[in-house]
């Protein structure tokens, strides 16, 4: 019965729509989330289950078979991402009037969690791309939205988010890339560091200084790839996230039209932070997907691997470890989804919740994936096994989009400011 579906089929794009390849996934598990207690579809509406199903199917068929290759060869999988965009994953929470799917933050979290089981790195990039598209959609004027959003939603063009600089990471508001007004252009000078997609993407959402020191002097500009004065550093060699290139973005007397500014002068930092609230939920969701896949991999390994005359699944210590992993996963997932709801409902506690969710989920999920690797023993350290890629890929989630230390700052500030 299942054998019928195990035939290897080529992907037929056809003239109609994106078809999937029913390929047999050999040494990796069907990441469908069958295990009842950690099933990510519990508590979702029928419609959300449909979204999740598409994302899981896409992840299993279009991403998982290539995840290792994209990592080893450092391939930016443009074609796979464009396919994802055709399903509506290019601008998930962008308005439909400019080509987005108009879904909620919770829907988005569910989708990224499912996609991440197929490839964390690629899904994380897709989430960054979505964040940029949303920023232009929300803070751009009519012309800007119509100019950029449709292409971003269809992934005709790819986007990058440029905030961090060599001299300003956690202290983002101290950024120094300057944008001096000259007639109807801003002249940009400075460098952005660690930019995901940098050099391969087309649209750069850049936070730069147009005014005084501190957050109030920062504005947000959209810079297009071929603009003279825009260049890129070398491609960084990373521990994970290898399916997306990371480069420095360098501005040398780069002239950007004033009409490319999102919002008013001085609103850039606020725009950046609002983008990051959603970005943090997305990154946390990517961690959830990796942890979910890792729990299943660890469980399956334990049922197969024998030592001391019995399968590892008979070891109480490992049973307890697995139970702890599952519990942490469900707890993380609940917090992330709770934060997503708060953000989409515009609740006053949304920013703190997003920080809590990012802090908790990225830490716990890393611990889950790491534990899953340990359960695999020596095999867990081999690149033939997917678990090490999940560990390497989600390690950086504890650092970017605001380090987990900065998340604590945000939460503490919210607690202490009320007293």
């Amino acid at each position: 019965m299942a054998a019928a579906m195990a035939l290897v089929r080529g992907v037929r794009l056809g003239t109609y729509n994106i078809g999937r390849s029913h390929s047999l996934i050999f040494n990796s598990v069907q990441r469908r989330g069958i295990s009842a207690c950690i099933d990510p579809s519990i508590g979702l509406s029928d419609e959300q289950k449909e979204f999740q199903k598409v994302a899981f199917d896409f992840a299993a068929n279009e991403m998982a078979p290539h995840m290792a290759e994209w990592d080893q060869k450092e391939i930016f999988p443009v074609d796979a991402m464009k396919k994802a965009a055709q399903l509506g994953f290019g601008g998930i929470y962008v308005n439909p009037d400019v080509g987005g799917s108009g879904l909620s933050r919770l829907d988005t979290s569910i989708i990224f969690e499912a996609l991440s089981t197929g490839c964390v790195s690629t899904t994380a990039y897709i989430s960054i791309h979505n964040m940029c598209a949303w920023m232009i959609d929300t803070f751009g004027n009519k012309e800007q939205r119509e100019k950029y959003c449709p292409d971003l939603c269809s992934m005709q063009k790819f986007a990058s988010y440029c905030l961090t600089e060599p001299g300003s990471g956690s202290d983002a508001a101290s950024l120094s890339t300057s944008a001096k007004l000259q007639g109807d252009h801003y002249i940009l000078n400075g460098t952005k560091a660690f930019i995901s997609g940098g050099g391969d993407t087309d649209v750069y959402v850049v936070m730069c200084r147009t005014g005084v020191k501190g957050p109030k002097g920062i504005s947000c500009l959209v810079v297009e790839k071929e603009t003279p004065g825009l260049s890129f550093g070398k491609k960084e060699k990373k521990v994970g996230w290898n399916s997306q290139p990371t480069r420095a973005v360098i501005f040398e007397d780069c002239a950007v039209p004033v009409t490319n500014r999102l919002g008013a002068e001085g609103e850039g930092f606020s725009i950046a932070m609002k983008g990051l609230n959603g970005g943090r939920i997305n990154i946390a969701s990517c961690s959830l997907g990796a942890a979910h896949a890792s729990v299943l991999l660890a469980r399956d390994h334990m049922c197969v691997r024998k030592q001391f005359g019995e399968t590892l699944s008979n070891s109480q210590f490992l049973q307890f470890k697995l139970a702890e992993m599952a519990t942490k996963l469900v707890a993380s997932r609940l917090l992330v989804r709770h934060a997503a709801l708060a953000l989409q409902d515009g609740r006053p506690d949304a920013v703190s919740l997003c920080s809590m969710a990012k802090l908790f989920a990225t830490d716990e999920c890393f611990s889950i994936c790491n534990q899953a690797l340990q359960i695999h023993g020596g095999y867990g350290y081999l690149k033939d096994y997917a678990v090490q890629q999940y560990v390497r890929d989600i390690r950086v989630h504890q650092i970017l989009e605001g380090t987990n230390e900065v998340m604590r700052m945000i939460i503490a500030r919210s607690l202490l400011s009320e007293s």
């Binding site: 019965m1 078809g19 069958i34 099933d39 598409v54 799917s101």
Partner: protein
């Protein structure tokens, strides 16, 4: 063309799930187990949607028989491009014993009621592997059938069906109205897109009871026992050809 297509979709245990037999051996465990649309039914829906995109078919009606949960399966069909759904309510004991004979009677009744010109079904369901519903439906309606279709084209009001048979491929021309059952290589089903999933919410699913169609769903079959396949036994190594022949004779194989 004003053709209306009826597509049957069945909710089955997901193909990736490990099947477990119920302790009382009356069937397999279905409670709390992940279900999804039968893969061959997905292929059937995809074919219907392609026909509609080619403007050879006007309306696609997705049909499923079962309890409340089958509405999920109908919604998936709607998200892939079907226009409306019909949920034939069958639950409890009736659902447990529902088989191809009853479903084909229901499909035949619906085909007449909806004035369908074409019925596309999956060739078989992955839970019972019956491969009977399409054929029985055609017989009840006295319509031609093109089963195990790996290619379907409309040529001058007739259907050209390329069938996968043991000897290779067989091409037949059949008149409409007809029943076609989809085989694996007929097409590659599309992913539902997010916008289509949302549009599907607005599409209508009508509720119907078998009695309304004049169909009696009592089963003529009784399941006596369900067991797991026998565990594969270890093999035995022999030294010589004579030993091999001896062993084969011993076990009555030759």
């Amino acid at each position: 063309m004003s053709a209306r297509v009826l597509v049957g979709v069945k909710r089955v245990i997901d193909y990736a799930v490990k099947i477990r037999v119920k302790p009382d051996h009356t069937g397999v465990v279905t409670d709390g187990v992940k279900h999804s649309m039968n893969p061959f039914c997905e292929i059937a829906v995809e074919e219907a949607v392609r026909l509609k995109e080619k403007k050879l078919v006007k309306e696609i009606v997705a049909v499923s028989c079962g309890p409340q949960q089958v509405q999920e399966t109908i919604r998936t069909a709607l998200a892939m491009g079907a226009d409306r759904g019909i949920h034939v309510e069958v639950s409890g004991k009736d659902y447990e014993t529902l088989g191809p004979l009853q479903v084909s009677k229901i499909m035949a009744a619906l085909a007449k009621k909806e004035e369908a010109d074409l019925i596309i079904l999956g060739k078989q369901a992955i839970d019972d592997d019956c491969n009977q519903t399409g054929q029985m439906t055609a017989a009840l309606l006295d319509w031609p059938q093109g089963t195990f279709a790996s290619e379907l084209t409309l040529e001058g009001g007739k259907l050209k069906v390329v069938r996968e048979v043991d000897g290779g491929l067989e091409t037949i021309m059949i008149n409409m109205p007809a029943v076609v059952t989809a085989d694996l290589r007929l097409n590659t089903p599309r992913y539902a897109t997010l916008p289509n999933i949302m549009k599907a919410k607005k599409k209508k699913i009508a509720n119907v009871k078998p009695a309304d169609l004049g169909v009696d769903v009592t089963s003529r079959l009784e399941v006596l026992n369900v067991d797991e396949p026998a565990q594969r036994l270890a093999g035995v190594k022999v030294e010589t050809v004579e030993d091999l022949v001896g062993k084969l004779k011993e076990s009555g194989r030759i």
